[in-house]
Amino acid sequence: MSEMNLDDLSNQYFDVLKELGNIGAGNATTALAQMLNSKVDMSVPQVRLLEFKDVGDLMGGADQIMAGIYLSVEGDINGSIMFLVGIQEARHLVNKLMMQDSESQEFTDIELSALKEVGNIITGSYLNSLSTMTSLKMIPSIPYVTVDMAGAILSVPAIEFGMMGDKILLIETQFFDEIKLSGYFILLPDLEGYKKILTSLGISNI
């Protein structure tokens, strides 16, 4: 496996990623429930490998306004992780966390900070489960947040994927508390990182 290209992923590899996504999102849901102090359910995550030009459509159009939380990852794996939710859902999470009832489309600094924390905890628990399964060290950076058009936010991971291939891999998870929350995880190890994750799980020939 000297040269690896994300564009020709095997089914087995895809299944592994799906399972990783499933467990990671499960942990993230638990963390979210604890943070919000309420019951949160989760649907089975969908793992998707998409052409760049189709990415925006999945989220309801590349001009949909979303909140994106981005953390870079260091340690045994180098790369980044991103969590995206729609602006309505982000508003719902922030309101719940701050025990308020705002309907504003804009976020104050303190609300953005709360959003960062949500993203931090969700992605942190996601990484934790991945790290435990693979025995690989993954240290996330501080979270960075932006509220903007889906396409614009996604250009950041897409460009990173773009250096490796022509598709982007994302994991779609739906959470339910009072409302349905669709969240998207984009886990982005560099190519070396993919190899390490798979090797540590005992999968060598893909």
């Binding site: 925006g56 590349a62 960075y144 903007d148 936010i153 291939g165």
Partner: protein, 161 residues
């Protein structure tokens, strides 16, 4: 009023007046609009990366500034535009997250803009206007009829360059 043709990420297309052409949510990517003001044939490319030579798997032509712009011009000229009349406008190349400012490797928005300008200069195509950089996404609509390049951003008034 014509149709509005959509261009995705790492994609390009051409259009003829009265149609317009759009790409949604440009972040660190750059949108390059080119037209021939006489025949009113134009097109739009949405490039992601500066240089096809830096990447090994570089067969995706519209993904890169260098190959994408060349292909866009080829298609516009093939449609009947005059090569020496072509002019360009560009937008995008933002740094979406604050960390991108600290790490020079991550300043891909700036690098995309620089590579776009360099390629256009090498091809002798005049850049009439640009709206690039900063930290927000842009949706752009280009009308080859007038050359208007409409730019929309979240929470900002629409502008035309």
């Amino acid at each position: 009023m014509g149709q509005i043709i959509k261009v995705g990420m790492a994609d390009l297309n051409i259009c003829v007046s009265p149609d317009g052409i759009t790409t949604l949510g440009l972040g660190s990517c750059v949108g390059i609009a080119i037209r021939d003001p006489v025949t009113k044939i134009g097109g739009l490319a949405h490039i992601m990366l500066p240089d096809s030579h830096e990447i090994r798997n570089s067969t995706n032509i519209p993904k890169f500034a260098d190959t994408g712009i060349n292909e866009l011009i080829r298609q516009i000229v093939a449609k009947g535009a005059a090569r020496d009349r072509l002019v360009a406008k560009i937008a995008g190349g933002a740094q979406m997250f604050a960390f991108q400012n600290t790490n020079s490797n991550m300043r891909v928005g700036d690098r995309n803009v620089a590579a776009t300008l360099k390629t256009l200069k090498e091809l002798n195509i005049r850049v009439l206007a640009q709206d690039t950089g900063d930290s927000y996404g842009r949706t752009v609509i280009f009308y080859p009829e007038t050359g208007d390049f409409v730019i929309r951003a979240v929470g900002k008034p629409e502008k035309v360059i």
